[in-house]
Each structure stands twice: as C-alpha cells, then as structure tokens.
C-alpha cells in the first residue's frame, strides 16, 4: 500500500477513535435532553440562541460534528471496500468519505459562525 496512506493512517485513526469516544459519550445525552426530555416538557426549553452566542459552545459543537463525521467516514470507507470488494478504489472512496466529512464540518462552521 502507498506510503502516503501509511503516513495518513495514524491521523485518520485518531480522528476515528476520538469520534467514537466523543459520539458515544455526548450524543446519547444530547438526544435524551433535546430529543426526549425537552419535547416531553420534563425540562424547560433552553434558550438555544443564548447558548449558541457563547463561542465555546459553538466550538464544542464544531468539534463534535467533525469527530463524529470522520468516525462515520472511516467506518463507511472500510465497510464499503470490504463488503463490496472495492479495495482497489481505496483512494477514490477515501477521498469521497473524508471529503464529505470535511464538507459537513464546513457547513456546520458556516451555519454556526
């Protein structure tokens, strides 16, 4: 395999691993609070505009989206290549997956900032 891939792999894997940890720890809590407890009226509706006016909140959201998308991209890349036997298209598939993750992050930044 290419030396490029070997050099990139540790970084991509750290994004993948970090994304797994961050998603597993924060997404269930966010879904529980914003998707279940607030709609059910258990918790009062938070003032999202006020929350998002804090730059740290927006940065944390960008980090969460970036890591979660890179986690998904890494997983989808290898699942596609192995299940469909497309390993010879690795570079194209990798560029597509990580490119979409970057695009998603860019959209998040564009919306929040």
């Amino acid at each position: 395999m290419s030396p490029l891939r070997r050099r990139a792999e540790p970084y991509l894997w750290l994004l993948f691993g970090g994304g797994g940890v961050v998603s597993a720890m924060t997404l269930p809590a966010l879904v529980l609070i914003l998707g279940v407890l607030v709609p059910l009226g258990v918790l009062a509706e938070p003032d999202l505009t006020a929350l998002l006016s804090n730059v740290l909140v927006r940065l944390a959201l960008v980090a969460l989206v970036l890591l979660a998308l890179f986690h998904a991209a890494h997983r989808i890349r290898f699942t596609t290549e192995e299940l469909l036997g497309l390993a010879r298209w690795d570079r194209l598939i990798a560029l597509t997956c990580y490119g979409l993750a970057l695009a998603g992050t860019a959209v998040t930044v564009w919306i929040l900032f």
Binding site: R5, R6, E9, P10, L14, G17, F78, E82, G85
Partner: protein
C-alpha cells in the same frame, strides 16, 4: 447424523469436493470424535489434524457449518441436520482438512515473540507483581489455533496482513514488565495494526477468550500517538 466433509486429494481431485458420511448421532461426541469414527471405521483416507482433544493444542481448528471452530469443543448436539466440515478459510489446503500453517508461523515470528532484554544477565528470576502479570496474562492464553485468522475478513482478503494472533502475541510481550523490546516498526506497518478495520470477528472466534481485537486497537492508539508525536517515537 450426516457429516459433509470437504475432500481434496492432490492428483485425484482438481478442486475440493464434498463427501458425505453417516455417523452415529451420539450426545457425547464432538465433531472431532465423528471425524475419528469416519477415519477408523469408514474411510481411512480422510486426513485432518488433531492431538489433545481438550482445547489445548490448537490443532483441530476447522470450519464447521461456515464458522471457525475447534472440532474437539464443538458437539454434534449443537447441530440439527447435516454438519458441513471444511478446512480453515484463508489458508492453502494441503489435503482434505489439513491446511498449510507456514504463513501463520512466519507471521508469528515477525513480531519477535520472546522477552527482549538489554544489559546484564540477571542472577535470579525476574520478579513480577500480580498486577504486572495481569497486564498481559490474557494474551498469553493463545493456543495458536488460527481460528481468529480464519474468522478475519481482512486476513482472508489480504494474506499479507500480520493478523490477530500475531499482534496479540506482540502485545503479550509489549505489556510484559520484563520486556525491553520495541516492535513498533513491524506493528505500525501497513500490514501491521493499520491493516485491521476492527471487524471484531477474531475475538468472537477465539476459543480461549483472548481478545485480539482489543490488543490491536490498543496498539493502534500506541502507534498513532508515537507516529503523531515524534518525541515518543522511541521508547527507552
């Protein structure tokens, strides 16, 4: 009970073919007992590896109904209907159920699976605390049965992959307080830990409850940090 056994006789069969044998459906028989019954009483030409019949030697691994199993620990009562027995997937077949284990042995030796020491020879044993033993003990339970290789889709697709048991064995020494070696160059290669895409089947297949998938992911973290942070590249 019907055993559907994969046969391959070099010079006779162009490719593996199935042969069916009727065996007594005995509750206390493992698949290996049924194979030995065939070998002793029905067809002496059937070839397969076995030795201890108690899950220690790691010789009798085969594909049973599509899953890698130790045939001495898999019982006829676990199955209804015909049982299909094939050689372990991912290895060249030598004859019938016997596979070529040389690629596997070569991978094991690549990771320097012994205690590497520097400096003077000790006067006595290297003492360890129970915690230091616990750090690597799980990985030392491997019996080299190759079920994890057969279960690993990455290895079956790419035989250059170092593979689960060899990486777990490397971690068995990396995590040993007595070891002073550095296996970074072998493990952090493309065919090393980065070949693994964390399917996790190796851990499911392991009959000795070693967790090769965990060993690999743990070393990925080590390798990633050492690749990304240059000052950690060489361990003292």
């Amino acid at each position: 009970m019907i055993l559907r056994v994969s046969r391959y006789r070099p010079g006779v069969d162009a490719e593996p073919v199935f042969q069916e044998y009727e065996v007594p459906d005995r509750a206390d028989w493992a698949i290996l007992d049924a194979l030995n019954h065939v070998k002793d009483a029905v067809d002496g030409t059937l070839s397969f590896r076995w030795s201890c019949r108690m899950g220690i030697c790691g010789s009798c691994g085969m594909n049973v109904n599509g899953e890698p199993k130790l045939t001495c620990g898999t019982f006829l009562t676990d199955y209804t209907g015909p049982v299909t027995v094939e050689p372990l997937r991912g290895f060249p077949v030598i004859r019938d159920l016997v596979v070529d284990i040389d690629p596997f042995l070569a991978n094991l030796s690549k990771v320097s699976p012994w205690l590497i020491r520097e400096g003077e020879e000790p006067d006595s044993e290297y003492a360890q605390t129970p915690e230091q033993l616990e750090a690597y003990k799980q990985y030392s339970m491997c019996i080299n049965c190759m079920l994890c290789y057969s279960a690993c889709p990455v290895y079956v697709l790419d035989p250059d992959f170092l593979g689960p048991a060899a990486i777990a064995l490397a971690q068995r020494y990396n995590l040993d307080s007595r070891d002073m070696g550095d296996r970074f160059d072998v493990l952090s290669a493309e065919e090393g830990v980065w070949g693994c895409t964390f399917v996790g089947e190796c851990t499911s297949a392991c009959p000795k409850h070693v967790d090769p998938a965990e060993a690999i992911q743990r070393y990925k973290l080590t390798a990633a940090l050492r690749s990304v942070l240059p000052f950690t590249r060489r361990r003292p």
